[in-house]
């Protein structure tokens, strides 16, 4: 048997579908429990509706980028395994790189003529490559997070130090846009400007619901503007 004779077998689809049903069940259970905890904490149903609609609307565009990754990845390793790898752990960037690295390490550019055992190797290689983070979370996640929460409870300094994590994350991630070129920088500031505009419109019109969709609108708007900036400056 060849690589793709196995890669596109119905059994692979079935196994992937079972795994995804498991993950979906975990998400549903988590959402229900989290929703109840939010209500207990005094958040209103209206606020939670806002969180849900904002999260759902924001997730659409990044998910479409994952679908684009699915198209290129499925050409390399078949549809079902690409579907699984892009739905569980990992990221669209990791999976594509990992699949290409695995191919090259085993002496292939593409797997079209590769024997079925190479597909077996790809399955294990991509799994082993991405497993570390989740195993680390199982082992060290709880003490780590309780440590952060304990630190936060240490009065004024605890609150100040707690705010450092987000600030530090932005301080490390944002400079990467500044070295990627003019289009990246303009896109970043376009998104900021759109957020200001939405905030002004929401305040002037009293349309509070707009704030729930700020991130989604800024994301789509700035991505569209990036095409304009690329046309002008790239």
């Amino acid at each position: 048997m060849k690589f793709f004779d196995v890669a596109n077998q119905p059994l692979v689809y079935v196994l992937v579908a079972i795994g995804l049903v498991l993950v979906a069940a975990m998400a549903v259970i988590s959402a229900r429990r989290a929703y109840r905890r939010c209500l207990d904490a005094g958040l209103s149903k209206e606020q939670l509706k806002g969180v849900i609609s904002s999260s759902a609307s924001f997730s659409v565009v990044p998910s479409i980028s994952i679908v684009i990754g699915l198209i290129s990845l499925s050409a390399l390793i078949g549809i079902p395994w690409a579907w699984w790898r892009l739905s569980v752990v990992g990221s669209v960037m990791y999976e594509t790189t990992a699949a290409n690295m695995a191919a090259k390490a085993m002496g292939f550019e593409v797997f079209t003529d590769a024997p079925a055992a190479v597909f077996g190797a790809v399955l294990y290689v991509m799994t082993v490559g991405i497993i570390f983070g989740i195993v680390m979370l199982i082992v060290a996640g709880k003490p780590l997070m309780l440590g952060y929460a304990k630190q936060r409870s240490k009065g004024s300094w605890g609150l100040v130090s707690n705010s450092c994590f987000l600030l530090a994350m932005f301080a490390a991630l944002v400079p990467s846009f500044f070295v990627e070129g003019t289009v990246y920088i303009l896109t970043f500031f376009s998104s900021m400007l759109l957020a200001v505009l939405i905030s002004v419109i929401a305040k002037k019109t009293g349309a509070k619901w707009l704030s729930e969709f700020t991130l989604a609108i800024c994301l789509i708007g700035a991505m569209c503007l990036s095409v304009l900036w690329a046309g002008l400056f790239a």
Binding site: G19, A27, V28, S30, R33, C38, G50, V51, I52, S54, F58, S59, V60, S63, I71, I79, S87, V88, S91, A98, A116, A117, A121, V122, L123, M126, V128, F132, I134, I138, G141, L144, L146, Y148, A149, S153, K154, S156, W157, G158, L159, V160, L166, A168, M169, F170, A171, L173, V174, S176, F178, V179, T187, F189, S190, A195, T214, L215, I220, S226
Partner: protein, 248 residues
């Protein structure tokens, strides 16, 4: 203080969240290895150990340290929602912004039971939406392919991260003086790490690929600067209109 810590550690939701999250993650890890094993057994295509090793080593060398730094960097924001977030993946480009946005919208803070609950709710919804869209994308792959491969879509998608973070960062540049407390002069904290990171990226462009490591270093520098500024009284936590008492 001791009471406060005990209460924090024993919050039933946090406790449940860790237990459920760890069990769910363990199940997924087992299943992730079960799938290749079942496929290889059924189709008699077990690879030679040497082939797996040859393919895995370069990936392990790059991605295990990245994964290590990502867990350390992003769990302070995600809290106990980290398990589901890491199980469903796409952390930086989807789940982390989603959690930050949800906490901002609801006025909750990371590392609190309600902040964790909001992040978990947001990322559960996000995960379900993503799974649904991937299924749709798979079913409609043939008709969608020409559209998704247009230059417009490709260019727009390649600029997704700055488009996402511009809006998110703005939310943190504007000092919100509502809620339980706010941090006076907090924007003084990230200036130095921001400039240092920028310098590193300019001098060593490949460091951009190691953002998880850069986040850890940035956390260390931010904490150091915050501590200095806090001791001098420049940076401090100020109680807001919805204040709850805290020690300090």
């Amino acid at each position: 203080m001791e009471n406060n810590n005990k209460k924090l550690a024993l919050d039933p939701f946090i406790s449940w969240s860790h237990n459920f999250g760890r069990a769910a993650a363990a199940i997924i890890v087992v299943y992730m290895f079960a799938v290749p094993t079942i496929i290889c057994a059924v189709f008699n295509c077990f690879p030679a150990f040497k082939d797996v090793l040859t393919g895995a080593l370069p990936i392990i060398a790059i991605y295990w340290p990245v994964a290590f730094s990502e867990v350390l960097s992003y769990t302070p924001v995600l809290g106990s929602s980290s398990y589901l977030t890491f199980i469903t993946g796409n952390v930086v480009n989807l789940k982390l912004p989603c959690a930050i946005n949800a906490q901002k919208l609801s006025g909750t803070e990371p590392n609190t039971p309600e902040g964790d609950a909001v992040a978990l709710l947001a990322n559960s919804v996000s995960s379900l939406v993503t799974m649904g869209i991937i299924i749709l994308g798979m079913l409609l792959m043939i008709p969608l392919k020409p559209l998704l491969e247009t230059a417009f879509v490709q260019t727009a998608v390649s600029h997704m991260l700055p488009a996402m973070f511009g809006c998110l960062v703005l939310g943190f540049l504007v000092q919100d003086k509502g809620g339980r407390y706010w941090i006076k002069n907090k924007l003084l904290i990230p200036i130095v790490p921001f400039l240092l990171t920028l310098l590193v990226y300019i001098l060593v462009p490949k460091a951009v690929q190691l953002q998880g490591v850069m986040v850890i270093l940035s956390i260390a520098v931010c904490l150091l600067i915050a501590r200095l500024l806090w001791k001098k009284g420049v940076v401090k936590a100020v109680t807001g209109p919805d204040a709850k008492p805290y020690e300090g």
